[in-house]
């Protein structure tokens, strides 16, 4: 069965992009969220195998969302989607339990590699 993915990003454009990359490569994007709060809610509802998580978002940012999700499910696999210059935040996220990160602008291969590794 295809792995279930939850895509979190405040830009619909980014979500669409990631969604396209993943669904073209056999992943099943089961949900999307545009902020951290919704991401946490969706995570509980959908129980995805992996989450791609933007960092800068309204309501609750990606790091906060990682912390919340990890509380619910310590085994959650979360892949951070960061932009250049966010080193410190990526590290925060990884300390909070994120598996890996990709940096925008990203290449499809990078996204796939990261997802595959995180699921391994």
């Amino acid at each position: 069965m295809a792995y279930k993915v939850l895509v979190v990003d405040d830009a619909g454009f980014m979500r669409m992009m990631i969604k396209d990359i993943l669904s073209k490569n056999g992943y099943q994007v089961v949900g999307e969220a545009e902020n951290g709060q919704k991401a946490v809610k969706k995570y509980q509802e959908l129980k995805p195998d992996i989450v791609t998580m933007d960092i800068t978002m309204p309501e609750l940012d990606g790091i906060g969302a990682v912390k919340e999700i990890k509380k619910i499910d310590p085994n959650a696999r979360i892949l951070m989607c960061s932009a250049m210059g966010q080193q410190a935040m990526v590290i925060d996220a990884i300390q909070a339990g994120a598996k890996d990160f990709i940096v925008k602008p990203f290449k499809p291969e990078r996204v796939l590699e990261a997802v595959t590794k995180a699921l391994a």
């Binding site: 454009f13 992009m17 309501e59 609750l60 925008k104």
Partner: protein, 658 residues
Amino acid sequence: MSVNEYLNLFLEEAREHLQILNDELLKLEQNPADKGAVDEIFRAAHTLKGMSATMGYEKIAELTHKMENILDELRESKIVFSENLSELLFKCVDALETMVENVATENSEKFNISGILNDLKNFNQKDIGITQNHEMGVNNKLELNDYDHNLIKVAQERNFNIYEIKVEIAPECVMKSVRAFMVFNSLEKLGEVVKSVPPVQDIEDEKFEKDFIVVLITDKTQNEIAKVLNQISEVEVKEIGSLGLINGSTPQETNSVQEISSFSKTEDAKKGINNKISQTVRVDISKLDKLMNLVGELVINKTRLEQIFRTNDLSALNETAEQIDRISADLQTVVMDVRMVPIEQVFNRFPRMVRDLAKELGKEINLIMEGKETELDRTVIDEIADPLVHLIRNSIDHGIESLEERRKKGKPAQGTLRLSAKQEGNSIIILVEDDGQGINLEKVKSKALEKGIITTNQLEQMDENSIVDLIFSPGFSTASQITDISGRGVGLDVVRSKIQSLKGNVAVESKEGQGSKFTIKLPLTLAIIQALMVKVGPEIYAIPLANINETTSINLNDIKKVQDQEVMVLRNHVLPLVRLAKVLEVPNMDNYESEELFVVVVRKNNKFIGLIVNELIGQQEIVISSLGKFLNGVPGIAGAAILGDGTVSLILDIGTLF
């Protein structure tokens, strides 16, 4: 991967973010201590950066990146929000806007940002660019001091393995320090990292080329370590070698680990106050147009059905007809509702515009906006922006006086510009009011005469309202000086014709010395309207209900003549009459002479006119169909409608009929 398919979405969202930038910058200017605004600005710039970089618009990405650097300092209170900074940021937003629009029109950002980048750089001397040029080519070599030797010796004594691990990070990796951190993080779970080359601090600062060496004390095997490390993306384990060792003394706790955790020093306080994000679907507007057309067709056929039912008296059809009536009415409401967008979209750009204009003219203006949530048909929204801009510019430039003048007149220094929108029945009313000098009647009169818009004779018969209304005449402009802001030869006549093309009208009221008020009235939607069907001789015409004030009947004898103009007295007011048959040149009217005639009182701008017709048929919903290319723009005709029996009737356009 082609990015073109994302272009529309990109543009739409980019514009949204630009709007946020503008709004929040204005907020910040009002209240420089507003941390929330700084966060919002930062977030918008940041998202824009990510989006544009992904789309390959490097200039936008670069500019937003540089903006971010400054914003970050602002956020951490390293610099204070000054007027200079606000000007600079506004300039950046303008540049971004230009680039985004360039992307929209020609699919390239084409814009010279070097000037602005320089400004930003001067502002932010210690600019941390995307690319960091470090000394390259330093060969990492592990050198152990006494302390290390001691540590290793003790570890050996306790049967731990000691490995020297050389890790290489992929050259295309953008955040080497984070990858390194992940390496350390994983290794810590396996054992204890006692040393690294280069030192942790340098790795943290990305002061290494592509590889670094770590010494790990662990009870795990080489294979286990390699397996864990290779799970990290963009990281390759070059070698894992055992360190056999020499002499030493007592071990001590090292805490390079804690050093690494101090990596993270940035706060993540970005709890947006944005609570109103709701679930939405973005739909191409053309699909909605299509849907609306289909509903229109349905409405036409519904009316036909009703007609068949009425003429044939089929009671069985009655129920169905009524049901369809209800459903199609609901459907129509829903479709119309979907097409509705809040006028906020248009209003949003005004605070910035007013601010800029006021600054340029050295005036102080308080802009009050009301009814931003009022909804209008999407097509109307797109068209109404320009006329509104024109009116606002007018008010600020010609209406509101300079600071001195206001002081002399005893008015508050700050002028007030009020922009409000509200729904009234099937129309939307938009008001643009200012408390400026109003319209100078004498000036209008002399100007109108000078430009030959009216004659002295005509002028004598005009009341104040009609005179003020002259400012909408083509070729009229009262500004004695042409400024950059308004009065570029395009006058208010353009505003009026634009609004009339939207089946609306615009009127002005003015009190000299106290200000002026422009009232724009627009229909809620352009496609389906309520109309009064009238008979003129043998022909049936539709008059939009929005234009109609009332209807009344009149006896032929009651028609009076004043200066060759037919009039009637309606509740003690003289109402000029127009025979529709004459205006429309309806043939064979002789057969339709009758004693009793009907008068439809319509409003044209500020005036009332009575249209004489033979018969009032009734109120009906009609779908406006265009007359096609050849007959487009025939004065007095707004379009055609298909009636219940299949016949076509023309819809009168009161604004341009006479």
